[in-house]
């Protein structure tokens, strides 16, 4: 159960990234229900020059009727023009024009940007006696000063163009921009601009505060204070009770290509992990429901191959605590190959002789011999008088030898990790890296997936343990048949360790395949002391 929980937790966690990537490819739209008649929307664009001057263009998307425009501009606005044609304006601020269809009002505005040590602030707005001065806002009340426009809400979109503003605000476009009366809004910063869109209620005038990089206004003299303090003060000065400043919601949309690549990687992860896990679980369940293994196995008296007794037992022997009998099988196998020897007549008293020169052909053999040596004199001959063989060292020996046997089985390509860490760990890392690169380093979820996903992959791999390979399953089938035949021989079950001289390697395989319980008890370490 734990293995499934960990595995599904891992897969669920990593699934968040592709899901988020796809959701991120769709722009977060706003919905306008009560649109002003005659005016489809307003686009406000502004460019900030190095001396702090702002060039403004306000595009009124008017319908094709005749519209009288009362042009209202902030103090100090200059070069006023409508549709590119300069207009006369009282004290430079109040002009008028008549247009048919869309109209653009343009002007330049010095003095709207103030530079500080750590940046600059663009402020478009003013408040007098608690009311917004429309002339000083981004643009004045559209319904008040545009003829032939009827009551309704207005879409306001646009961009602020400032050198280096993208790097300055990073992915926090909302942190660098805030509005009064424009809500809700979405914003996104690129290298040299911040784009935005929002909804304006009929009759309102929007005010804007923007933080800019100091390097964009190098020709302005820096004042004392910081941008943070200046913005805070400006919000206090300009904020009204009913119309607080609000920052836009970031409106990143990620690349569909990035989302696709991440999804393909996730699909690969599903195939690599989920299929073997479910397969292994199904196989275990089927085995449990099938009852005793012997009932469905054909008996064979022929030793089916050249696997060592321990490896044969690892694929076809008993499971759980009885697997410690594989150590007994390995000891008997070493005796059969004259690496070590057993002297004595019965199970009550015999001696295992381990020569100083004893060595095994496999890593598991070598591990068993290592455990049989005297801890005090590991390079000398060792005679072990049995019983007991392992005594209190049982659990430690069992753990060490179990690990060595698993390594040997993997080396022989009989088993493999159910959730291969070499695949499961790199994939979430790759998904995270692609998300990070695809979002110009701005994907926190990408970082999280790469780190936490890799750790969960490792945990899932450990929890799911090992499973038989194709070769392992073939060997399992053959050795189960041989094990069934061995278990049918009652003499083997009562044989003692010294009887290996009589039975030879048959007793070793019998110990490995659950057919020699007596000798397995004599030579196997116990998991509990």
């Amino acid at each position: 159960m734990l293995r499934l929980v960990v595995t599904f937790l891992f897969l669920f966690f990593v699934a968040i990234l592709p899901l988020h990537a796809w959701l991120n490819t769709t722009p977060d739209a706003l919905h306008l229900t009560n649109s002003a008649k005659g005016l489809h929307g307003i686009t406000w664009s502004g460019t900030v020059r190095s001396d702090g001057r702002l060039s403004v263009r306000i595009d009124y998307d008017l319908d094709q009727q005749s519209h009288k425009i009362d042009v209202r501009m902030p103090d100090g606005a200059r070069f006023a023009a409508v549709n590119g044609t300069p207009i006369a304006a009282d004290i430079g601020r109040y002009g008028e024009a008549t247009v048919t269809g869309p109209a653009s009002v343009t002007y330049e505005l010095p003095g709207a940007v103030t530079r500080y040590r750590d940046g600059a602030v663009l402020s478009l707005g003013d408040v007098r006696n608690g009311s917004i001065r429309g002339d000083q806002a981004m643009f004045p009340c559209a319904l008040c000063y545009l003829g032939n426009v009827e009551y309704g809400d207005i879409v306001v979109s646009g961009a602020l163009f400032v050198d280096g503003i993208g790097a300055f605000v990073g992915d926090q476009a909302s942190a660098g921009l805030s509005f009064v009366n424009l809500s809700p809004t979405r914003a996104k910063a690129d290298d040299d601009d911040v784009r935005f869109v929002g909804l304006l209620q009929a009759g309102d005038e929007p005010m804007m505060l923007a933080t800019l990089p100091a390097k964009a206004v190098t020709k302005l003299t820096a004042k004392d204070g910081s941008v943070v303090d200046a913005v805070k003060a400006a919000k206090q000065r300009l904020g009204t009770d009913g119309h607080p400043f609000r920052s836009p919601t970031a409106a990143h949309h990620g690349s569909a290509t990035v989302a696709l690549v991440i999804t393909v990687l996730y699909a690969l992860l599903l195939i690599v992990i989920l299929v073997p896990v479910l397969w292994a679980r199904g196989a275990r369940s089927a085995a449990q429901h099938a009852g005793a293994p012997d009932s469905a196995i054909t008996v064979s008296s022929m030793k089916p191959g050249e696997l060592s007794p321990a490896l044969a037992g690892s694929v076809a022997g008993p499971s759980g605590g009885q697997r410690q009998s594989l150590v007994a099988a390995a000891i008997l196998d070493l005796v059969c190959r004259n690496v070590i020897s057993i002297t004595g007549s019965d199970s009550r008293r015999f001696t295992i002789h381990v020569p100083a020169t004893a060595t095994g052909t496999t890593r598991f053999d070598r591990a068993v011999i290592e455990q049989l040596r005297s801890p005090m004199h590991p390079h000398e001959d060792n005679d072990i008088h049995v019983p007991p063989l392992w005594s209190v060292r049982g659990p430690t020996v069992a753990r060490v030898l179990s690990k060595a046997l698993a390594q040997e089985a993997r080396h022989q390509r009989l088993i493999r990790a159910t959730v291969p860490p070499v695949i499961a760990m790199p994939i979430p890392i790759a998904m995270g890296v692609i998300a990070i690169v695809g979002n110009h380093g701005a994907s926190k979820l990408g970082y999280t997936t790469a780190i936490v996903g890799a750790l969960l992959a490792f945990a899932a791999s450990r929890a799911n343990g090992m499973t038989l390979t194709t070769r392992g399953r073939a060997e399992q089938q053959r050795w189960q048949q041989y094990g069934a035949w061995l278990r049918s021989n009652n003499a083997l079950s009562t044989a003692a360790a010294p009887d290996v001289a009589t039975w030879g390697e048959t007793l070793a395989y019998a110990a490995a395949l659950g057919a020699a319980s007596e000798v397995a008890n004599e030579l196997s370490p116990r998991l509990g002391s």
């Binding site: 229900t33 307003i42 001057r53 200059r78 044609t85 300069p86 330049e108 869109v197």
Partner: protein
């Protein structure tokens, strides 16, 4: 213009009306540009907004201001005792240039000086005046004559009768030249120009 219609993705909402609007794409928006100072001020774009009117063929009643007086006037100002460095007013007429300057660098103490070519300089007594001042160094002496020529070329039946460089007449533009343009019917317009000659606004009086 069409930007909004392109920007806005219009669709029918489930409730039966309205439209969805999304963030504009970067390629749908162009950065506004800045005006440049023309080499010939008569080519100033803002002069398009200065339109003459019918005067029944009558010439302006007032003479044109003489911008060429400024160079000599500034030289004479510099020759005054204590060399005034800050002004609160400079007005160019057809026959004289009028200055109000800060005396001895003392804020609030100002005096007037009228320059007439060939006449002895006349300096008033000092008096209190808290009008804002600006440095003499911001004045480009050739700009007034060029502005007068540009405006009178745009409106041949009108004269620039006075030019003022005074914070109080700059109307939020900072410090700009204030040109009064008159024809036979009276004041036609006021024109504002930066100290470098850039005509920034036309005020139709």
């Amino acid at each position: 213009m069409t930007v909004i219609s392109v920007v806005s993705t219009v669709s029918l909402a489930a409730c039966g009306g309205g439209r969805d609007v999304a963030l504009p794409r970067a390629d749908q928006l162009a950065a506004p540009t800045f005006a440049t100072l023309p080499a010939d001020l008569s080519q100033s774009p803002q002069l398009v907004a200065l339109v003459g009117r019918d005067t029944a063929g009558l010439p302006p009643t007032e003479a044109s201001a003489d911008g060429s007086l400024l160079t000599g006037a500034l030289a004479a100002l510099a020759a005054l005792p204590n060399h005034p460095t800050r002004l609160s007013r400079l007005t160019i007429y057809s026959d004289q240039v009028y200055f109000t300057f800060e005396v001895n660098g003392i804020v609030g103490r100002q005096a007037s000086y009228v320059y007439r070519p060939g006449e002895t300089p006349r300096v008033s007594d000092s008096s209190f005046d808290d009008n804002a001042t600006y440095p003499v160094s911001v004045i480009q002496p050739t700009v007034p004559a060029a502005l007068i020529a540009a405006v009178e070329k745009a409106v041949p039946n009108a004269h620039v009768t006075t030019l003022d460089l005074e914070p109080g007449l700059s109307y939020g533009f900072g410090l700009t030249w204030y040109l009064r343009v008159e024809d036979a019917r009276g004041t036609l317009a006021n024109v504002f120009a930066d100290t470098d000659g850039a005509i920034v606004a036309v005020d139709p009086s």
